[in-house]
């Protein structure tokens, strides 16, 4: 039975990754043909998924609410912009440096903050993002209030990537690698510790589990992923300004992770697809409904999506679907034996 159980798990794993990759490959097909999607939406969707992915172990497993992802997203974006525009470094090297800087920043913050309870961390990360947002508007090296334009585009083996479709494949590849990494982390003993912490911090502590180093590592992982996404965004758009550090970015990422499912590695991608679609369709159709409605109605959709998912599907779309599937599979396998 145990062997069978193991096989079944393997089959599930292969199947889910198969569908995941298939879904990703479907995106260019879909987004270049179906109005009003654009391939730019596809790229943005994957980048947001990478940035939100870090929230799976951090929010879903460690039970921490982070509204500070923008701080690291922006760090990655600005690192790439500054290093390529001012120092003419390669965008790939800039991406690595940006991720390292964001990781270090997260580590230092975590060192100072994880002694305190969870919501202080939420506040501290918001504060860091907002402070960085002010600072980058003042410094010359960050382009001041005008931001930095002319960021060097990414190249692969010296060749231009050329076009949003190719950039999408590149970003999707990175998303896949990141998903596997986060998946491995979540499967490790590490994650079990995290779940224990999330369920009852004090109980975990009394059993001799020190939550701080584990949470810190998760925080660093989340920061690195956000920075990678920010860096890719900078190379893709060619322009970076303080809005990459805005609280709205953090909110958007938290919503993506929550709507998709905070305890599934596929949650970020699904959440991102839903949120990007929501935004795109809202933009396309709302002006027809009311000429007065601009970006406003869109945020109601955001907020409502967050509330409804949290109340009705606390584990997000993927979590809810998985539970439904399991129940379905349960009845199917049980029927013949009965």
């Amino acid at each position: 039975m145990a062997v069978l159980g193991r096989h079944r798990r393997l089959v599930t794993l292969v199947l889910s990754y198969g569908v995941f990759v298939g879904g990703l490959l479907l995106v260019p097909f879909l987004f270049t043909r179906v109005h009003p999607y654009t391939m730019a939406d596809g790229v943005l969707m994957v980048l947001l998924a990478v940035a939100a992915l870090g929230l799976v172990p951090f929010t879903g497993y460690a039970g921490q609410v982070s509204l500070g992802q923008a701080a690291f997203y922006g760090t990655g974006a600005y690192a790439t912009a500054i290093l390529t525009v001012k120092l003419h470094l390669s965008p790939w090297l800039s991406l690595v440096i940006g991720a390292a800087v964001a990781g270090l920043l997260a580590y230092l913050l975590g060192l100072a903050l994880f002694r305190a309870a969870g919501h202080y961390l939420t506040l501290a990360t918001i504060a860091v993002g907002l402070i960085l947002g002010v600072v980058v508007k003042q410094l010359d090296v960050t382009g001041g209030a005008e931001g930095l334009a002319g960021v060097t585009p990414l190249t692969v083996f010296g060749a231009d990537i050329g076009g949003d479709v190719n950039f999408f494949y590149l970003a999707a590849g990175i998303l896949l690698v990141a998903t596997v990494v986060v998946h491995l982390v979540c499967r490790s003993m590490f994650a079990r510790t995290l779940l224990a912490i999330s369920d009852s911090p004090v109980a975990a502590q009394s059993c001799g589990v020190d939550p701080a180093p584990v949470k810190r590592s998760m925080f660093v992982l989340a920061a690195v992923l956000a920075a990678v996404a920010g860096s890719l965004y900078a190379s893709w758009s060619g322009f970076v300004d303080a809005s990459t550090l805005d609280l709205n970015v953090s909110l958007q990422l938290l919503i993506i992770a929550t709507v998709g499912g905070r305890r599934s590695v596929f949650g970020a991608a699904v959440g991102s697809f839903v949120v990007v679609s929501l935004v795109r369709f809202a933009k396309e159709w709302l002006p027809d409904v009311s000429s007065h409605a601009g970006g406003q109605v869109e945020i109601i959709a955001y907020g409502l999506a967050l509330i409804l998912v949290l109340r009705l599907l606390p584990r997000g779309i993927v979590g809810g679907a998985a539970a439904g599937l399991r129940r379905l599979a349960g009845t199917v396998t049980r029927t013949p034996t009965r």
């Binding site: 179906v34 730019a40 002319g150 990459t244 697809f273 839903v274 933009k283």
Partner: protein, 387 residues
Amino acid sequence: MAVGLAAVLTLGVGAGCAKQESAASDSTEIPIGVDIEKSGPASVQGEAYERALKLVARQINANGVKVGNQTKKIKLIVRDNKSDPAESLSVAKSLIDNDNVAAIIGGGASPTTMSIVDTVEAKKVPLVSMGSSGAIVQPIDKRKYIFKTPGNTPVIADVMLKQFQRKGIKKIAVLSVDNAYGAAGLKAWQDLDKAGKIDLVDNEKFGDKDKDFTVQVTKAVAKHPDAVVVWAIPPQAGIAAQNLRQAKYPSNQVYFDTGAGAELFVKGAGSASEGMYMVHSRVLAGDQITATTPAAQAEKKFFTDYSRDYGNFSGFAPMAADALSLIVQAITKGGRADRETIRDSLEKLTFDGAFGTYQFSPTNHGGVDESSLALLVVKNGTWTLTS
């Protein structure tokens, strides 16, 4: 888990397909994208832009646009960039890739334009911006497709400087909003300060969402400047006017940039603005213009039409109106409505618009010339031309 994802994706396909058919554009229409601030801190501008564009499009479409031997109509595709530079980029990409526009009007301000110029240039789409920062159209070899309607920032500063020299004003303080627009204004004055033409005794910045500048005003006034220059748009321009009056700073020593527009009165300054100055196109005092030249006639006509349709006039309206008129002129003169023709034709254009006179050339893509600008003063609650 897997099926859930597949289901979501399938749902997306289904929902999307239904819309696809209606997207096919009519070949008798010329799609022109509009990327403006319908929400966010600069929404006051966005509203005026949209009204002006609809007014001009209606007037143009009444007779149609002559393209070669065909008569076509303008189709405006208006999108909200939420006053956010990153959002503006996404809007521009979507207008180019999705709506296949012939040209783009926007962004409505410097920050929302600066974020899109590289992309628009790379995609070779003509763009006419309502942002004032000089960096929008310079360096010209990287801005082949980029044009703008407001005059360059240093040109506006120069008009003020002449007034300062006439009045013997030497020491000034600058209050500016902390974004690309305010930064361009501040830089113009810092350059004049370096060149020894004015003494900049203080500069104070405020965030684009701030609502109270008492601290900044207190600091600036404490330096005893002969004049205070404000680089802000409404409603912040109005708040600055109020705060300056609360600090008992004389109103006839306060100068606003074009960005303060006409809404200065209604959007918060109220009676506090009486006696304050602004550099703007003559069109803002449209009812006082004696229409003798073609330029003055165009200004007066737009002022009258807009005021009739929407009640009161807005200083931002003519900037957007001219952006559209310029593109239509370029299409008519070039005889084709494709992107390359519009760009080439724009670069050769001389045009008397509602905002002033444009003389584009391969070395100048930068908005109305100095002759269109005037110094206005608030008298009895309306903008009045100074002699």
